[in-house]
């Protein structure tokens, strides 16, 4: 008997077996799966069995119904498919053996016999190539160059450091007196690591070290994403951050 596994943010909320009639999903209390969330329409979608196979149908919902991240009006479902409604997902488990009614708030163990979508798996070569191409293609459509190369530099404004300009090529940049520091401070009583600049997927973040640097004159709190032109000051050294696409 196929099972629908309703999840929100990774946790299982409910498991519903399909035995006969259609399963309706929506915000209204009259649905088989009622989800009280504003992103979901009163009567959002239904999942039913037609000639032995499962079909999901969107009931003209406002925010749409997605199967494996593709918006659909109506779509056949197979084992392992994920139907997304608002932020709730419904996994199709056709291999589930008939079980006693499931306690909706206690997720049961993912046994070996029933592979679950939330288990880590790797795509086979063909499917992976295809999905990577889709990602690359959608990148071009949305006018974002795939794998952007951005070079950040720090230019000395004032202070005692070993160079006038630094390219931030590494993932981690340290400003300090240590010989391992990228930007080496000179002078007595300077900390080995005064501040750090870390590269992440979305840009360069300034963080504290043994000292709290200032950014455009205000003391740094949590690590902060740097923008082109920001002025960093630590231990009497001023550096201008610049980043070009």
């Amino acid at each position: 008997m196929p099972l629908l596994i309703v999840k929100f943010e990774g946790s299982v909320l409910q498991k519903v077996a399909i035995n006969g009639g259609p399963i309706t999903i929506g915000r209204g209390p009259d649905n088989s799966i009622a989800i009280d969330n504003l992103a979901i329409s009163n009567h959002h979608a239904e999942i039913k069995s037609e000639q032995g196979r499962l079909v999901v149908e969107d009931l003209n919902s406002l925010n749409g119904t997605f199967v494996n991240n593709q918006r659909v009006k109506r779509s056949a479902l197979k084992h392992g498919d994920v139907v997304l409604i608002g932020k709730h997902s419904i996994e199709i488990d056709e291999l589930a053996r008939s079980e006693s009614p499931v306690n909706p708030h206690r997720p049961s163990g993912g046994g070996k016999a029933t592979p679950r979508v939330d288990e880590t798996f790797i795509l086979d070569t063909e499917k992976r190539r295809q999905m990577m191409q889709e990602i690359a293609a959608s990148g071009e459509r949305s006018q974002i160059a795939p794998a952007r190369v951005r070079v950040a530099t720090l230019v000395r404004v004032k202070g005692q450091i070993d160079k006038a300009e630094y390219q931030l090529t590494g993932k981690l940049t340290v400003i300090g007196k240590s010989e391992m520091a990228t930007i080496r401070l000179r002078g007595w009583f300077k900390p080995k690591m005064a501040a750090q600049i870390n590269r992440r997927d979305d840009g360069y973040y300034l963080g504290r070290g043994d000292k709290v640097p200032t950014i455009n004159g205000s003391p740094l709190g949590a690590p902060t994403l740097l923008s082109d032109g920001d002025l960093i000051e630590v231990c009497g050294v001023q550096l201008r951050f610049s980043i070009k696409e």
Partner: protein
Amino acid sequence: MNAKQIHLDVAACSDKGRVRPINEDSYRISLDRNLFVLSDGLGGAAKGEVASAMAVEAVVNSLRGNGAAGCAEKPASCSEFSDETNFLVHAIELANRHIHEHGMRDPGCRGMGSTIVAARICGSRLSLAHVGDSRAYLFRADTLQQLTSDHSLVAEQVRRGLMNHQQAAASELQSVLTRALGTEDSVSVDADEIELFPGDSLLLCSDGLTRMVPESEIAGIMAEAPAVRIAAERLVERANEHGGQDNITVVVIRLSNNKFRSWVAKFVPWYGANLV
């Protein structure tokens, strides 16, 4: 800092979580080589726990001896990195072949695979190599920085600017990997090298931690825990409190910034040898 007198505090903790019937994660710590290896067996496919155990074992074994001497073949030298890093990459490539061949021979293990993240500290230099979505983090001056880039579909989308971190964290496709160990006859291993500072901490973890516990909470635990053992236990506990949907394994390594202790350890080997 003298390269030889670096002192490490190390602790690890592994738990099957609250949902999975068995623990398919594996880890190995080799204190005499400052080598730390963690692997997460792929679920769904057969025998994830066999694959992850083989992965950590194979990497530790290839680096046995003096690191270099234990390797049967010298790796193709990659000028960008030090020998230690190249050996680590090579050890993972060998582990991949080993798991893949085992999977081909044993029908019960067909298609088995795992992730891997391996770290080795030589002097002040950290060598890192990984495949899959097990991560290495650096915790430096209260800032948590991910050092590895996940080989997963959603991470790829984030890197290409198609998704932000919030969307990635909510995605249903988080568990889809683009690279894994053992599933094919060869694998591309990512490597990195960084200079460590006294007081830095490292965290190696399986996705059972990072998918349950937000990075801000991980950073909080790393900052507050007075000892690595407590940090490791609290991280696993927190993942379980958040649902424990997957196996959770963490290895926490802290570089002592206590000069006296490092100095004593230099003369009294047992003092610094095993603080696990």
